[in-house]
Amino acid sequence: MSDREVKNLEEMFDAKIARDEKIEPKDWMPEKYRQTHIRQMSQHAHSEIVGMLPEGNWISRAPSLKRKVALLAKIQDEAGHGLYLYSATETLGISREELYEQLHSGKAKYSSIFNYPTLTWADMGAIGWLVDGAAIINQVPLCSTSFGPYARAMVRVCKEESFHQRQGFQIIMTLAEGSQEQKEMAQDALNRWWWPSLMMLGPLDAESIHTEQSMKWKLKRKSNDDLRQQFIDQTVPQAEMIGLTIPDPDLKWNEEKQSYDFGEMNWDEFWQVVKGHGPCNKERISARVNAWENGKWVRDAAMAYAEKQENKVVKQAI
């Protein structure tokens, strides 16, 4: 194809997205669109899968059977979300094995918030309330993104995500209404998860390299700063309602802009964690690698069994 033909195709492609038409896997797309989607969608899938680990830590120590079944169901949803997203990513021509390989080798990223440890039961509340809360804000606009399989997967994810946030808030609320010790536990969890949750919504707009192109492709519909402001404005009253304090001395209602002003985030820490130096980066990846490698004999055995069954059928047919 000549450069001119490619340019022509690209113009038609951009116009299609501008008209709110969806792009489906077998449609022509610019190579950069394909690569950007593989990167973002797989990163999203990896985040769901790695995101199971911090919570898995508390399944066996949940304080009641009710909490335990809810936590199990939530984690099972995350496995499901990972699978919806992996299969949507595979429609772009990359195999599941390649995707896992990128995660295991560190080539692909996942949300850095999952590199923080879950020290107390209150962290299960804070994760549902804050981390899933921030994720919902990030994900709702993606339900109308331009790539069809991603948009459809996100519709399913968003439908299921609201239970996650509600069960988390209820955990935190119950602790906040409990004994002095429980209340302190809830406050401690908020203190540790607040800033990482804010930074989870991505770098400042001024420093975000992908925003402009992603806006055009509807991979992003609001900027990181707007999403962050929305998250803060919605979460602060929730904390007040249950008598917890947001750990930000600069947090103040701004009457004029009808939203909160807030303090500076520690981006050095953020980038350290992204680069692999967070408290649990190594532990998370090694858990994934071990699961994959130690599960190999099971995958092989299942495949051997399937082939044996198939041969039997063929033999009978002869």
């Binding site: 449609d27 169901a73 099972q76 499901g80 699978l83 919806y84 997967a153 299942a302 069954q309």
Partner: protein
């Protein structure tokens, strides 16, 4: 050893409705594909029936050929009821 093949999953959400494609998954055989589809796509009673089909068994039309491929239908407006102009007196037709 071979990797688990890919299966396309179709779900009927309730009787009276058609099966609808909802995604794909990997499984070693059809039985496992059905069970995985149940766990991945119907955790909240979203279905009463599931079909799984090996992805390699699907033959798809090529969107690059859409113009020619769907051309036969594009100039046959007489296949639509609105093509036929009838008097207003004729109420229900």
């Amino acid at each position: 050893m071979k990797n688990w093949p890919l299966w396309e999953v179709f779900i009927r959400s309730k009787n009276g409705l058609e099966h609808r494609h909802c995604g794909s998954l990997h499984a070693s055989d059809a039985t496992m594909a059905l069970e995985n589809a149940r766990d991945v796509y119907t955790r909240r009673m979203e279905g009463v029936s599931i079909w799984v089909v090996p992805s390699t068994e699907i033959t798809a039309s090529n969107p690059d050929d859409n113009a020619e491929f769907f051309e036969p239908a594009s100039d046959k407006i007489y296949r639509h009821p609105t093509f036929y102009e009838l008097p207003d007196e004729l109420k229900h037709m």
